[in-house]
Amino acid sequence: METKVKNEAVDTSHSKQFVVFKLDKEEYGLDIQRVLEIVEPSVITRVPRAPKFVKGVINLRGEIIPVMGLRERFGLPPIEDTEETRIIIFKVNESSIGAIVDAVAEVIHLSPDEIEGLSNFSSDNSLDFIYGVGKIDARIVTLLNLDKLVNYAKREG
């Protein structure tokens, strides 16, 4: 936590805030500007013939919102919902979409020099929805590119 405070003091104008969530054993980050809200899982209605990782749709205050399982999306083994399971609702192309994650951890500040681009990784196709990697001390947070995450979804669907 100390580092976080330090970051803020050093450079708040260029730093970005990310919502950090857990998936399996890794930590991922989403640009907080894009996150609308985080809700507890409700009843999900399955949508037939949708891509595998689309778990279905939920009713969020009268709006129908598609929800994807990020575990399925990343090819991780599915688990039962726990106390910590959350759905992160974010906006892509002006319409809302939800992602099921194992747990939401915190909000962090990252300055540009704490974010490493993807060039160090291979040009593997499966990585194109990763936008960079954030480093805080020993922790590593994978930062996701939301547009790609969903576009990719569309291609497959």
Binding site: P48, R49, I64, I65, K154
Partner: protein
């Protein structure tokens, strides 16, 4: 400067004005002597010009300005209204509509200047008709000649401007004074623009500023030294005006001259075009409070993004009603909270009942807000029929009834095309030429009646013509030629069955193909569209007497009646409108045809679709049921049987979209939210049925 908020208003109002213009032009065509209508047309053109000027749409302003000239001369009796003039005015209207559409989509008025229309307009004005206009030229006439001569001259001759002079003359006639005021500001003045603004405000409060030198925009941008001159028309006395202006701080010197009446001479050097438009811009902008509205004159329309949002104009009473209901909702919420606190359970039931009543009313109120009169579609038809009649050389009268009938906005948008098709059909195929009609002892004028009315939960629209009617014999022959039916069978067909051929794709009975219709597309498209809207279409026809097309549509597409069914543990909705019947069958009744499951229902072979399989519903262990429930649905004329596990019942559901991200999903028409907050999907019968 953000203009989009004004832009929306501009578009909305322009549409209204154009519609007005359209109607009035149609009226004046019938009654060319009616000055009231003419004045109304003039007023609309003038308003449009002002609005366009304010928004910086100079092409619209130019066109409307030229229209005004012509109209003015008609008003003065210089020109007589002829069909030719009406035609040109309609062309102007079309051009204006195109401009407006361009603005809606692109945010700009586009490049097209419609030079031909403008030339035609000026042609009318310049045309000295035989036997007309031989008396001494009036100022307006000369003014016009100047305009033609000085079209491109953009001189800044202050106060000599013919437009300004005209306003001054008018003002003097009405006993209002005109002043030329020169204001000199203190050399130490820091915020010249702001000071000038205060002066303008003061002047506007007493009268109207009709001209300013330098231009208002320049003054706002501080592009002037310390002096500017304005022409003001005002009822206030000279002294008083001087006093008021001198009372403003940092004003060094005020010179006020009274202006007199001056005839416009033929050699007036007018700062045509440019300067004139600017004055209009200014006088309009100046009426709106605050500096913002003046700034908008300098903003370019390009800066704003295209606006394509759908809007509905709502009666304020309905909004008030909505507001009241929402207040009630808040009250009942508080009441429920209180009950929770005190634990009085007997009041609870009462409160819930009340809540139920409010939500029902709220629902009704919201639906009412979405309702718009069919007039929105109807109002473009008179013009269309007029043009068609001309094109086809027929005489047609269009009568419209029940234009105030209200339909949901979603339906309205889809209604236009099918109705256009039907009316074109009536005009082209139905109504005969005047000679033919005379020979048949019918009035020369053909009549098309367009009626709209409510019938239960439907809205009915009828298009009836007194033309020749549908020649069923001809249709039959055509069907045989096209190989649609056997000759033998054809003879046993009922009239209705024969007429149904008309709704088949690429089927036209017109002997010759005209521009208007008869390319064999049309009625099938109409039928498909109407059915896609959940409606139906019927035809009644009598040879020689005419035909009547009857369209029935649901009042709204947002709420439908649906049958809720269970597939294992999942709930789905099937729109009731596509369900024909529900039957229970024994498993033995299922037959196989080419390995596909079918059933026989009253001698009709109906393919079976096992929804569980098609929709990949996770199966619990398969147990052989004694009875299978089959929902028979219709897709067009064809029937299919959906096998479901259980029926829940009929229910009114609100259709919601699945959203952009799932738009590619087939088989689902949308989703709805059930009483318990869960989402149920609505089956797309057309996609699922065979």
């Amino acid at each position: 400067m953000e203009m989009s908020q004004y832009l929306e208003l501009f578009i909305e109002e322009s549409k209204e004005h154009l519609q007005n213009l359209n109607e009035h032009l149609l009226e004046i065509e019938k009654d060319s002597e009616n000055m009231t209508i003419l004045n109304e047309i003039f007023r609309v053109a003038h308003t449009l010009k002002g609005m366009a000027g304010t928004m910086g749409f100079s092409k619209i302003a130019k066109l409307t300005h030229d229209m005004e000239n012509v109209l003015q001369e008609i008003r003065n009796g210089q020109i007589k209204i002829t069909t030719h003039i009406i035609d040109i005015l309609f062309k102007c209207l079309d051009a204006l509509e195109n401009y407006t559409n361009h603005i809606i989509h692109e945010g700009t008025e586009g490049e097209n200047t419609y030079d031909d229309v403008i030339t035609a307009l000026n042609g009318i004005a310049a045309f000295d008709g035989p036997g007309e206009l031989k008396t001494a030229a009036t100022p307006e006439k000369i003014e016009h000649q100047d305009r033609v001569l000085l079209e491109k001259i953009e001189e800044e001759v202050f106060a000599e401007d013919e437009y300004v002079q005209k306003v001054i003359n008018k003002a003097l006639e009405e006993g209002v004074n005109a002043y030329k005021i020169t204001v000199k500001l203190n050399a130490g003045c820091m915020l010249k623009a702001a000071r000038a603004f205060i002066i303008f405000r003061t002047l506007e409060s007493e009268g109207t500023v009709i001209k300013s030198q330098p231009k208002v925009e320049d003054i706002e941008d501080e592009k002037f030294d310390f002096e500017f001159t304005v022409v003001v028309v005002s009822k206030v006395q000279q002294k008083q005006l001087e006093q008021q202006l001198n009372a403003i701080a940092e004003v060094d010197e005020v010179t006020v001259h009274r202006l007199g009446r001056r005839e416009l001479a033929a050699d007036t050097q007018s700062g045509e075009g440019q300067a004139q438009e600017e004055q209009i811009i200014f006088s309009n902008a100046g009426k709106e409070p605050g500096q913002d509205s003046q700034e908008e004159t300098t903003a370019t329309p390009q800066a704003s993004k295209p606006k394509t949002r759908k809007t509905v104009r709502v009666d304020i009473g309905r909004l008030d009603n909505l507001m009241n209901l929402v207040s009630e909702l808040i009250i009942i919420k508080t009441r429920l909270e209180d009950i929770e606190g005190t634990g009085q359970s007997h009041n609870y039931g009462e409160a819930v009942e009340y809540l139920e009543r409010i939500t029902t009313s709220l629902h009704d109120a919201v639906m009412k807000v979405r309702m718009v009169p069919v007039e929105m579609v109807f109002n473009r038809f008179p013009r269309m029929i007029r043009d068609l009649a001309k094109e086809l050389d027929k005489k047609i009268v269009l009568n419209m009834f029940g234009a105030e009938t209200e339909v949901d906005r979603t339906v309205i948008d889809e209604l236009g095309d099918p109705l256009i098709h039907l009316l074109r059909n009536s005009a082209d195929h139905g109504i005969e030429s005047p000679e033919e009609r005379k020979a048949k002892n019918k009035p020369e004028h053909g009549t098309i009646d367009l009626k709209a009315y409510h019938d239960g939960n439907n809205v009915v629209i009828e298009a009836q013509d007194d033309g020749d009617g549908i020649d069923t014999e001809k249709v039959k022959q055509r069907a045989i030629v096209k190989g649609l039916i056997d000759k033998e069978i054809a003879h046993s067909l009922s009239q209705k069955e024969i007429i149904d051929f008309l709704f088949k794709a690429s089927f036209s009975t017109a002997d010759k193909i005209t521009d208007v219709s008869g390319r064999g597309v049309g009625l099938d498209v109409v039928k498909t569209k109407i059915e896609a809207l959940g409606g139906m279409i019927e035809v009644e026809t009598k040879k020689g007497k005419g035909s009547k097309f009857i369209i029935r549509l649901p009042l709204t597409l947002a709420i439908i009646q649906a049958l809720m069914v269970m597939l294992q543990k999942e709930k789905y909705a099937i729109p009731l409108s596509s369900i024909k019947e529900i039957i229970n069958i024994n498993p033995e009744e299922i037959k196989l045809v080419q390995k596909k499951e079918v059933i026989l229902l009253r001698n009709t072979v109906i393919p079976l679709i096992r929804l569980n399989k098609v929709l990949d519903v996770p199966q619990a262990e398969e147990e052989e049921k004694k009875q299978i429930t089959v929902v028979i649905v219709k897709k067009g004329d064809k029937l299919s049987g959906f096998v479901v596990d259980n029926l829940i019942g009929q229910q009114e559901i609100v259709i919601k979209s699945l959203g952009k991200h799932l738009s590619g999903i087939k088989n689902m028409a949308g989703a709805t939210i059930l009483g318990d907050g869960q989402v149920a999907l609505i089956l797309d019968v057309n996609a699922l049925a065979l």
